[in-house]
């Protein structure tokens, strides 16, 4: 599922000032690509990601996903679109504290009306994959930051999303944990052959992307396309 962005602009009004978070962005991301958005803080990375995920409306421009312009959809259609196609990993995990790890992961499937038995099985499977087999009944408060993000990843990838958005998924983690988390994300992305769009301000983490988008002050400065074939291997070579 490819994503095409045309002349995307997003302006915020703050008082009587206009903040230009995106000043006209064009970009194409192919299906199955791992795309990394790099830039300094405040450069407009999150804004771009949120627009692509349909979490807010652009001031101007088009975002075509599966040849559908999501900027034309209403709230209801967007919600349905997110339910069907999109997974989301947050920097601050955003788990529901009242629910167990298993329930948190099962939540997207619950919204899809998947029967309880099946969604619990699926959730358990993916939690095992992220290394939390023994923690499925823990509440978020009983987990470490790294473990919480593993739950967050499991929740984003459970079921059959076609695109996963991740906004600085390792931003709150130490470097060692960051490496582990990043490895997990890449592994599952490759396994499920889905499109990953990830924001980071850490240059090192961009090594594994097929495409790196450099963004500054709301404009794309450079797009680097890389050979995608050996990404995972290269990653493994370097870490082991």
């Amino acid at each position: 599922m490819s994503i095409v962005i045309k002349d995307l602009k997003k302006y915020y009004k703050v008082g009587d000032q206009v903040v230009k978070a995106l000043r006209g962005v064009d970009l194409e991301i192919k299906k199955g690509e791992i795309c990394c958005i790099l830039g300094t803080s405040g450069s407009g990375k999150s804004t771009m990601l949120n627009l692509m995920a349909g979490l807010e409306k652009p001031t101007k421009g088009e975002i075509l996903i599966k040849n559908q312009d999501i900027t034309k959809m209403n709230e209801k259609e967007l919600a349905k679109f997110r339910q069907k196609n999109v997974g989301f990993v947050f920097q601050s995990y955003n788990l529901l504290n009242a629910l167990t790890a298993l329930e948190n992961v099962a939540l997207p499937l619950t919204f899809c009306e998947i029967p309880k038995k099946i969604r619990e099985k699926e959730s358990y499977k993916i939690l095992s994959k992220v290394g939390l087999k023994t923690h499925v009944l823990h509440k978020p408060m009983q987990l470490s930051g790294g473990q919480r993000q593993r739950v967050g990843i499991a929740r984003a990838f459970v079921g059959t999303p076609e695109i996963v958005f991740a906004d600085e998924p390792t931003g709150n983690l130490d470097s060692k944990t960051s490496e582990e988390i990043m490895k997990l994300i890449l592994e599952i992305t490759a396994e499920k052959n889905l499109t990953l769009i990830m924001v980071t301000h850490n240059r090192d983490l961009a090594r594994y992307a097929d495409k790196v988008v450099y963004i500054l002050d709301g404009e794309i400065k450079k797009v680097e396309n890389r050979n995608s074939e050996n990404d995972i291997r290269r990653y493994e070579d370097e870490t082991i």
Binding site: E56, K76, A79, F111
Partner: protein
């Protein structure tokens, strides 16, 4: 999201905030209970009133009398006057919802028992429909067609006899009508012939007291009574008197098969040109009064439920502020708008429903207490037709439950829409 999952999630949300849920439910409990109890008082009152009315006479009987005519009209329009005759009786019988029709010959007669006599109202009726019109004998039997000149007396007639030759006529002159030999002297129009010889009659029985007009009347077969008067008229010298067109019957009683149809039938009879009257007419006015009282009582209860509704809205709005982030997250990871809305509506409805259920139990207890206390005030046994002053019919329980649930939904509507419309990003950024 399936409704089942939605319910599970809603219930666990309520459970998570036990104290607040409890207090909000408590508000609804008070509201629902006060509505039920207030209305139960009104309903109890109404029931007691109905019972009293029923003891006064049958509510489903219509009394028909001839059209009322002013004196001046009498001579000119006599011929147009609708008469209460056999033709009219047939028409009444053919009306819809009419069970039985009883034409009545209404006469005043003097009954003599030895030295004592009494002037009473003797009504000629159709013996066959007596049971339908609730004639119940306390002693003896109802008169039969076979025996001639049998009379059944009202319960209080025996106390009405006096001795015309004695100075203090009304002494203790109770007559045992069943044993004494009785003579009947018809009272004729104009002067009564003092020399006429009495007609021998026999008491077949005494009616049960019924606190109504039956207590003070006597009844016999209409044909026998008619014959007595025809005989007298034939004998009287005034045979040439112009037989003017007059009502054959003085009144007719009509029994309707359903109390609710009485007004309809009454109207039809009035339209035919007769005068219809029933206890039900009186009841109508009283019913309006009671409806007013009922509305006031219900209103008092309604105010407390209204306050409870504000409580629900408040709780749900608070809940949104508390759960803003949660709502935002749910939206990002795939909740549809209707899921969010339904979730909030369900939680509010549950508060209303729960309050309604507990309110039902509480109001049952309160109603019991009220009745116990009232019973002790009235000196133990309730007796005298006064029954429970608070009465809760099943429909009141059920509609109170339905109503409080509905109030919950209504009160939850605004918060639900508000939650649904929360902007995802703003919601997710709140802490």
């Amino acid at each position: 999201m399936t409704n089942r999952d939605l319910m599970v999630m809603g219930l666990s949300n309520l459970k998570r905030r036990k104290m607040r849920t409890f207090l909000t439910v408590l508000g609804v409990v008070i509201g629902a209970a006060s509505i039920i109890v207030m209305l139960s008082l009104g309903i109890g009152m109404n029931r007691n009133f109905m019972k009293n009315m029923e003891s006064m006479g049958s509510l489903n009987v219509i009394d028909v009398s001839p059209e009322y005519q002013r004196y001046e009209e009498q001579s000119s329009t006599t011929s147009d006057k609708k008469l209460l005759d056999d033709e009219a009786i047939e028409k009444f019988k053919n009306l819809e919802d009419v069970d039985a029709v009883m034409p009545i010959l209404d006469k005043y007669v003097t009954i003599k028992a030895g030295r004592l006599e009494s002037s009473i109202r003797l009504l000629g009726i159709d013996l066959e429909v007596m049971e339908e019109f609730d004639f119940k004998v306390g002693e003896g039997t109802l008169p039969t067609q076979l025996a001639n000149n049998e009379i059944v007396f009202g319960a209080h007639i025996s106390e009405q006899f006096y001795d015309p030759k004695s100075r203090n006529g009304f002494g203790n002159n109770k007559v045992d009508l069943m044993k004494e030999s009785l003579k009947l002297f018809p009272e004729m129009r104009g002067n009564s012939d003092q020399r006429q010889r009495g007609i021998n009659i026999k008491a077949s029985g005494i009616l049960e007291p019924d606190q109504g007009e039956k207590d003070w009347s006597a009844y016999m077969d209409i044909n026998s009574l008619e014959k007595i008067y025809e005989d007298i008229e034939r004998k009287s010298e005034d045979r040439s008197r112009r037989k003017e067109k007059e009502d054959k019957y003085q009144s007719v009683k009509i029994k309707v098969n359903d109390i609710d149809k009485v007004a309809d039938v009454s109207k039809k009879i009035n339209d035919m040109g007769y005068r219809a009257w029933s206890l039900n007419d009186m009841l109508d006015g009283m019913k309006k009064t009671y409806a007013g009282i009922q509305a006031i009582l219900g209103g008092i209860g309604g105010v407390s439920l209204f306050v409870a509704a504000i409580g629900i809205t408040n709780t749900m709005v608070m809940s949104i502020y508390e759960r803003t982030k949660e709502i935002g997250i749910m939206k990002v990871i795939g909740a549809e708008l209707k899921d969010i809305k339904k979730l909030f509506l369900f939680e509010a409805a549950m508060i209303g429903c729960l309050g309604g259920i507990v309110g039902m139990v509480i109001s049952f207890l309160i109603s019991q207490i009220i009745n116990k206390v009232a019973a002790s005030f009235m000196g133990g046994g309730m007796g005298m037709g006064i029954e429970e002053i608070s009465y809760i019919p099943v429909w009141l329980y059920l509609s109170a439950l339905g109503f409080s649930t509905f109030v919950g939904v209504l009160a939850g509507y605004y918060p639900a829409v508000k939650a649904m419309k929360l902007s995802v990003l703003e919601a997710i950024r709140t802490e």
